[in-house]
Subunit: 483 residues, 2 copies
């Protein structure tokens, strides 16, 4: 008892990513930076793949300039980002030189804490980024993507935490993007990490609110020794977003746990975003308050609607139930990948194909690559029959090594190609933007001089004229859309 | 560990009262009754003051017929109601004979559990109802209205629980209508009651979700020994409503606590109300996800908007802050009443008067009556100066006895007056309806033969053409409006 609990505020990144399709313009964040910087947070999460993508795709805003502005406006508090390991902020593996360059540049532009994850929990996909961040002297946080499966036991996750420690990470994050982490498992997982990795191992908890249980899990994690928890200020909280910051402060009252947060500083931020929210109503989904179906189906809401759309496109909208029953089998066959981007799409699409065309009669090349280890290794073993089929189809062998080891140095080529683009400014930052989003950046470089634009609307106009948009931004294939 | 936690489902009463101004028509509830009856609930809350009021005021529906229909459609599960002690379902104290008649009739029509409360926590206002219910053989549940003040300590509430036990109640309910109950106080209060009143005292917890902390409080209450908790199925949950039923089931997974609930039965009910909800959108407030201001201000959201409206009506909309600072003083002067109906309105209006006209320069007759004990006694002492002033203004003495002791038998007179009304059907039930809502019932008896009507709308029409309505139904003074 009597411990001080630290808090990471998510409102500048994951909150609007989860609730308003990542569309918030920088002009809507600038006014609250001073209050946020003085509110007593351990860190302010403000950068990641989807925000970077949305900047150049929708907002005509340079994401590096956004980072520098945050740094300038919030000098006192750690800035934090979410990094997809060897994928950086993009959708493929990058060669180590590019990964190192990215980490250097992000640190140089003001980033303090790098939360590094891999969708498959393959530590080899984290190692280069962890090493690169550590060389900059900034914090490299190792991340466990939480999921539920026969092979994702508390013991397996605790062992993964220990291996992250061995890799040299400064702290451990439990990342529960699907709100699957229930109170008792939360307690056991945090306790297990503390007991195995040492009580002085700083443990962070990131969970979404979707299923309604994770605020209780947060309390249990704190009781088990969790040091830092992620929340979002109430006016952009709950739903598929996060548990509310103010409620955390109140929840701990009298428990002996305290925070350093100053609610007087948080209130104006809350009021500000309550107004901002109205102007982005057309990007907010009609998501109702709570969704606990995932506990039964194991299928995240976004993945389910993707599969439904695919089925409808094939005139097979009535076969959802079959596909839902196929997903667990496909997941088992592929070694129980966590169902997050990109594995959720890969597994979901294969399940649809299996139902429509017969089991593994047609294999997507992405699913075959997943089977063959080109995304990395999984906690579970692969089904050997399906593996053989994948090898035959792809005409290439399964690999057991690190996927990025297959890549040749690519920085010079990336710079040369970027240099030829209209509007390229010659910086390494621009090369990185090009590397991660080749098509979108080509267009962005041309229009950058026009300056940032906003997609916010007058709330009354938005209310009356707009049907609600789906929360996930779908806008063609170019470099995949911001999620 | 290993205890079975029982659940009361609120979706037929408090959920739509809290989220859609109590307007839900019976036709929207009938289709789910069979599933609810088979889902494994300890009880189904389905009747109370606001639903009774809304039936005759807005829905042209006989509330007694609604009760009999529920009884017929849900034969296996306890039906539960909320009863305002000596006020029954109305807005004044009734003479004991009327109270007894009401309890007899409710039991006879199928009610099993009577949750009996008094807004001031004055047990003398509960005694007649408790005795009457016990004589019917049904369950009399004694209720603690939870609030926060210097005199509302855990010890004071535990002592109140013991006095409720001494009164003969079958169980104790902690009722937290303002979502003020934090986890640690929840634990201490339940533990205190169990240790003082006996571990076999059945403790129920009713809390709203408004502040975002009470789901954690529910977990802590369970750990402290709480036996039955109140939840609402997710499609009508959260906001100023309640914590979601499905999330409770999932939250307990692995903790050793279990429920008897069958999620297979609950899912169709959830899907049904997700659709119903859309057709009542025009009655739902724009309440955002979380409101923690009450922890600072001690002023419930509904009370605050009432005061703001009063101030605006006086052209003094800029003096809200002064009034908010006056409320705690007025509350202290009047002995710290819990801020619920009717004390919240009485204290709030007096605070407005104090700011606009000088402190206690003008006293409302309701506030004077509260000071003089005509609503009952409070946990705290009254300010003697203000008390003297109230006596002088009202030209009547302070009382220390039970308010209802001042009343003469009134049943025969009520029946005689009701008998003269057009459409009166001769039943005791109709007399009771007239007694509690004299004006509204007069109109209702006349139109009853036309049958129930619904205020639901086609969701698309509702979305495009209707501005959001305030959640609290205001429609003139007749017998006060349904809240
Ligand atoms: Co997240
Ligand atoms: Co309630």
């Amino acid at each position: 008892m009597g411990r001080q609990i630290e808090v990471t505020e998510l409102i500048l990144r994951d909150a609007h990513q989860s609730l308003m399709a990542t569309r918030m313009a920088m002009e809507d964040m600038v006014p609250v930076c001073e209050d946020l910087d003085n509110a007593g947070y351990w860190s302010l999460e403000c950068w990641g793949g989807a925000t970077y993508d949305a900047c150049i795709r929708y907002l005509n805003e340079d994401p590096w300039e956004r980072l520098r502005t945050f740094r300038k406006l919030m000098p006192k508090t750690r800035l934090q980002m979410l990094l997809r390991g060897q994928n950086l902020l993009g959708y493929r593996h990058y060669e180590d030189g590019v990964v190192e360059r990215f980490c250097d540049k992000a640190a140089e532009n003001g980033m303090d804490v790098f939360r590094i994850f891999d969708a498959l929990n393959d530590l080899r996909n984290l190692k280069t980024a962890v090493d690169a961040v550590r060389r900059t002297g900034k914090e490299a946080q190792g991340t466990i993507c939480y999921t539920v499966s026969p092979v994702h036991t508390t013991e397996a996750f605790v062992e993964m935490a220990q291996r992250l420690k061995d890799l040299g990470v400064d702290s451990i994050c439990i990342k529960d993007m699907a709100a699957l982490l229930k109170p008792q498992p939360a307690y056991e997982l945090v306790r297990g990490i503390k007991e195995t990795c040492g009580e002085d191992t700083r443990v962070h908890l990131h969970c979404h609110a979707t299923t309604g249980v994770t605020f209780v899990s947060m309390m249990k994690a704190i009781e088990a020794g969790c040091d830092v928890v992620d929340t979002s200020i109430s006016s952009l909280s709950l739903g598929s977003g996060h548990n509310p910051t103010e409620s955390l402060v109140e929840m701990l009252d009298g428990t002996g746990y305290t925070t350093r947060l100053d609610l007087e500083r948080i209130r104006p931020v809350r009021d500000h975003f309550a107004e901002v929210r109205k102007r982005y109503r057309h990007f907010m989904s009609d998501f109702t308050v709570i969704d606990t179906d995932i506990f039964e189906s194991q299928i995240p809401g976004g993945m389910l609607s993707n599969m439904e759309n695919q089925l409808k496109g094939q005139g097979a909208g009535d076969r959802v139930q079959e596909v839902m029953e196929e997903v667990p089998r496909v997941r088992a066959d592929s070694g129980y990948p966590p169902l997050v981007t990109p594995s959720s799409q890969i597994v979901g699409t294969q399940a649809v194909f299996n139902v429509l065309m017969g089991r593994y009669k047609t294999m997507t090349s992405e699913f075959a690559d997943l089977m063959l280890g080109y995304y990395g290794s999984t906690f579970g073993d692969k089904n050997p029959e399906v593996l053989t089929q994948a090898e035959a189809q792809q005409q290439k062998p399964a690999i057991t090594g690190r996927p990025a080891d297959l890549l040749e140095p690519e920085w010079d080529q990336l710079r040369a190609t970027a240099a030829a683009l209209e509007g390229f400014d010659g910086s390494d930052e621009d090369v990185l933007t090009y590397a991660m989003f080749p098509q979108v950046s080509t267009k962005f470089f041309k229009t950058r001089h026009e300056g940032p634009k906003t997609l916010a609307k007058d709330p009354e106009a938005s209310r009356v004229t707009e049907p609600p948009a789906p929360a996930s931004g779908k806008s063609g294939d170019a470099d995949k859309a911001a999620k």
